[in-house]
Symmetry: C2
Subunit: 480 residues, 2 copies
């Protein structure tokens, strides 16, 4: 990417961050000198250098894109972050607050006065305000509401009323609407009165007298058609619409499937209430995939890299607690077979292999099934067919890898029956993993839950305890 | 989402799939009757019903969006998939091949004749062809090349020359360019000669005589400005440009950061060579996040849900093999301490807890660090600071959870020294996990590798073997 003015790519961002840090370091140095030395003749000079550094930093920040300022704020430790935040011009506070991550936003808001926060929100659209409101202190929210004109108050109230994960929570209110019975010339004259169109306007909504959606008029059709044409003749009636209650995930899939850039949001009576843009949908997709990654590792939310150790502990403890419980159960399963292990200590060395491979194989199955469900390709009645396939895969893997491990066990401990038990236990645990890997997400789907949540933990818990039980049980039956 | 003509949401898609399956089932039933019965008086009737079903299916498919046909094809078992594929009109083959997943695309291409494949490509743009070419048989690729006009041959050659993961592989060639020294009126007249603009055109590229990029002209500015204005006066010079060699991931981040809908791609001499659109970027983001999910579970690629058991085994074996090796090493570590376990069998029951919690905690750390690196917020020299924080978290977790588990072990086995060893081993293994969780991705980054790959496997291998070694080692030293 080629840099141009205030837009920059990752490398440039790293450089910018470095510049900011250098200026901060110089500023600190001067501050130290000022505080520690008592030589008055130097003070004036230092004060000047000091000011100059901060001025330079201010200037740099003014020329950076809000997203880039957000990046710098996120990459700085708390103290320096707040220093830079103070240097940002007040009228830019709002747009930058929108860009930073939730964890960092919290630290910035905590450092702001009530009147500063109210001022920061003044430059924002209602849909942007709606994103910010949940993080603002109650009294600031009240002030913000009172400062809005009645129409926007209603919009804001509507926007924050939709739960996260719905189209209503993602939509904005920046749409241009026209009537179907006018000519394109009239529309063109109407548009020429705008200073600018709402961001990412690729189409205009055609509505009737009651704001009911009749069709879509792409900007393109304003440009390629004769201005004397009626809107009615060129508008597209074949369109994707959403309702505020629709799931964001489904809207995102529709945007991808039909290559949309923007789409109207209508109420149950087909009146236009908002607009959904691809730019918002992309943010949603990215956030969702990040939340999934974090959840996979048992992190509840994104951690500010400079969060305190204690905040990090709180973010991670729930997952560790769950794992502790499942590990403890598995440990008790082993406890039951302690006499067997005492008699044949090789069992202790071999049992983690049986449990581990089962867990990995089960996770592969769960991942496959959850993905297929998410893409809408698995109907609840497909369970039997999928189960057959996964059990087949497990059987082959069990015989292949179990056979290999069995041979190794035979060779290591010079016992052919130990080898056979090893092979049998691995095969059975892989079959258990396949069964649970298909069953758990399919069951969750049928019961109306989210098949993606917790499947991996449950599988691992099952294949650990199950693997130990199967292996030690078979060994007790056949070897002792 | 409200359905309208051939656009449909997930529920509707499920219904459509059901309809197709019903028609297929009726078709099969009739075929069975025709083949198994020898009653001539029935044949004619059946033949008619048969034809009618297929006609109805054809009609349905004709009225579906290519993405929806792709969905149906992906959700059908091989035999029925190919039957439906035969019913799709030949001129739609190309666009549908673009939409299906790689695994399914392979099955469809395998079933097509050379001339059918060449015909299918005729409706495609060069950038779409470039996506398809890697999956086509060599002789078909040659035919396709020869059928193209020289300019498009050059474009196609350029497009397939860029490796996956670069902007060049994602860009298209559908851009509209104008000169800076004309009025908007001239541009408007020029555009009116188009039947339609390239998909997702939100801006026009302003170039000089040598195709060098001078600025961008948003469609919006054609609409809101006086037609007598010069392009030069309203074009935006402040822009994000890419080069074909830039990484797709960085381009995607820039699209998100700066809310772009399309952006020009230029060569080293600033000549416009292509265009990148948000719609393509979204596909890239989604594919990348899916590839990551699959890789996390050790799946090499997306599996066709109806792939044979054998294909699935091949897709999954590499990961299981790696895990087998690491599990075997951990097992050998236990083997070293077999005498200790024989003397104190409680060790066998407790050791999986130490290993398991270490693995989970290490994975949390790796996930955090990899994400921070991917977002460009971690410089290689931040290792020490991150290490300090993660070791702090590990210490607290070790004392808390290790203390709890130690107490449980004390209570279960009535040995306070066993409890103390348990607590110490858990704390040490968590510290090891934190150390490796920060160290492995940071080291990979410094060595120029991808920090995201394999970190989780390495951590788990380390905390398993390490956990067993620490726990059994401490026990041997202090308890026996």
């Amino acid at each position: 990417m080629t840099e141009e003015q205030h837009l920059s790519d990752t490398d440039d961002l790293q450089e910018r961050l470095q510049e900011v840090e250098n200026l901060l370091a110089r500023h600190k140095l001067v501050e130290m000198l000022v505080h520690n030395q008592d030589m008055p003749r130097h003070e004036l000079v230092e004060e000047l250098v000091h000011k100059q550094n901060l001025n330079e930093l201010c200037f740099k920040l003014d020329n950076m894109h809000p997203a880039d300022v957000a990046y710098v704020l996120e990459a700085l430790p708390l103290e320096e972050r707040l220093l830079v935040w103070d240097l940002v011009r007040a009228e830019r506070d709002g747009e930058i607050l929108l860009e930073v991550s939730d964890a960092v936003r919290e630290t910035l808001i905590d450092a702001m006065e009530r009147h500063e926060l109210v001022a920061a929100t003044e430059s924002l659209d209602t849909d942007e305000l709606a994103d910010l409101v949940p993080d603002l202190p109650q009294e600031v929210v009240e002030d913000v509401f009172q400062a809005l004109p009645p129409e926007e108050q209603a919009q804001l109230r509507a926007a924050i009323s939709y739960p996260e994960g719905t189209v209503g929570a993602l939509m904005d209110f920046d749409m241009v609407t026209v009537r179907e019975d006018v000519t394109l010339e009239v529309v063109l004259r109407y548009l020429r009165r705008f200073d600018e169109l709402p961001d990412h306007t690729d189409k205009i909504f055609v509505v009737d007298r009651d704001e009911r959606l009749l069709g879509l008029l792409p900007l393109e059709s304003l440009l390629i058609n004769d201005p004397d044409t009626d809107v009615r003749q060129v508008m597209k009636k074949d369109m994707v619409r959403f309702q505020p209650e629709d799931k964001s995930e489904e809207a995102a899939q529709a945007f991808e499937r039909y290559d949309l850039v923007s789409a109207p949001v209508v109420d149950t009576e087909n009146r236009v209430v908002g607009r959904l843009t691809l730019v918002t949908v992309v943010d949603f997709i990215r956030e969702e995939s990040e939340a999934e990654q974090l959840a996979n590792a048992g992190l509840r939310e994104e951690e500010d890299l400079f969060a305190s150790v204690w905040d990090s502990v709180k973010n991670r403890w729930a997952w560790l607690a769950v794992n502790l419980v499942t590990a403890f159960i598995a440990s008790r399963v082993i406890g039951v077979f302690e006499t067997s292990i005492e008699k044949l200590v090789a069992l202790a060395a071999l049992m983690p292999i049986v449990a581990g491979i089962g867990g990995n194989s089960g996770n592969q199955t769960v991942t496959m099934i959850v993905r297929a469900i998410a893409m809408g390709q698995v109907k609840p009645d497909a369970t039997r067919r999928l189960l057959k396939k996964e059990l087949g895969v497990a059987l082959i893997n069990g015989v292949l890898w179990g056979g290999l491990l069995g041979t190794l066990a035979w060779w290591l401990y010079e016992s052919i029956s130990l080898g056979l038990v090893m092979t049998a236990a691995m095969t059975l645990n892989l079959l258990l993993a396949a069964f649970a890997g298909v069953g758990i997400p399919m069951l969750r789907q049928r019961l109306g839950g989210d098949p993606a949540i917790g499947g991996s933990v449950m599988i691992t818990a099952l294949t650990d305890s199950g693997g130990f039980f199967i292996f030690l049980g078979l060994a007790t039956l056949f070897l002792l």
